[in-house]
Symmetry: C2
Subunit: 132 residues, 2 copies
């Protein structure tokens, strides 16, 4: 590799009733409960202009995922043939960054109430973008 390592600092974490990987939906639109994005007050200015109803893309760090896996059975279904992780949304991959499309329900200072987030409680948040 010609490039160095990259260091991210989390900007907050997920607060969710989902505490168990096994019971969490695989995608947010598959029945995720409402959750909070609890952001560091130091990044509060970065939320300027976000209103209820906005659709955001949340990037998380899937800290429980394995990083040394390159092929998986999609959706953990052993009846499906192995696929390269980069052709899946599987959490296991060299840099396990989660990508979640959520809808903002309410805002309370540096905390955003959202729906359709399948990340489990405590998952670090590394970035947020407006959905295109």
């Amino acid at each position: 590799m010609t490039v160095a390592q990259i260091v991210l600092t989390p900007i907050g974490h997920v607060e969710s009733p989902l505490t168990d990987l096994a019971s969490a939906p695989k995608q947010g639109f598959e029945g995720a409960p409402e959750a909070w994005l609890a952001l560091d007050p130091r990044v509060l200015d970065g939320l300027d202009g976000i209103v209820a109803g906005d659709e955001l893309v949340v990037l998380t760090w899937l800290d429980r995922a394995e990083r040394d896996v390159l092929r998986v059975h999609p959706r953990g279904d052993a009846s499906r043939p192995l696929s390269g992780v980069f052709r899946t949304r599987s959490p296991g991959r060299p840099n396990p960054i989660g990508l979640h499309r959520v809808r903002v329900l309410a805002i309370d200072g540096p905390r955003l109430r959202v729906r359709d987030l399948e990340a489990i409680d405590g998952t670090p948040i590394v970035d947020i973008k407006i959905a295109l």
Copy 2:
């Protein structure tokens, strides 16, 4: 913050005729040229199953972006009011991860030819997912 720092290792880099930030389109669908995703041969197995025509989401590290900016004029247009970076797609943000939706045109071992990638030449790639 209750969470520690996160270390990413790039899985490859972008090879593109775009070498200058000022001339690069702001979004891939705004006229980006064809480019290569030049991946580390060590992650080749992760590409298994990817075929021409696939739509992928590429995550990059925008290594030239400023990390201490929390409010920006959207699209660099000073006539637009300041907005929190998390409500924009601006590269400047605490963890400048780029998100790019691309179409695979061809595959050559660990190299993927793609269109609609606005990242400039040399940009580190940190993850690839199938688009939903």
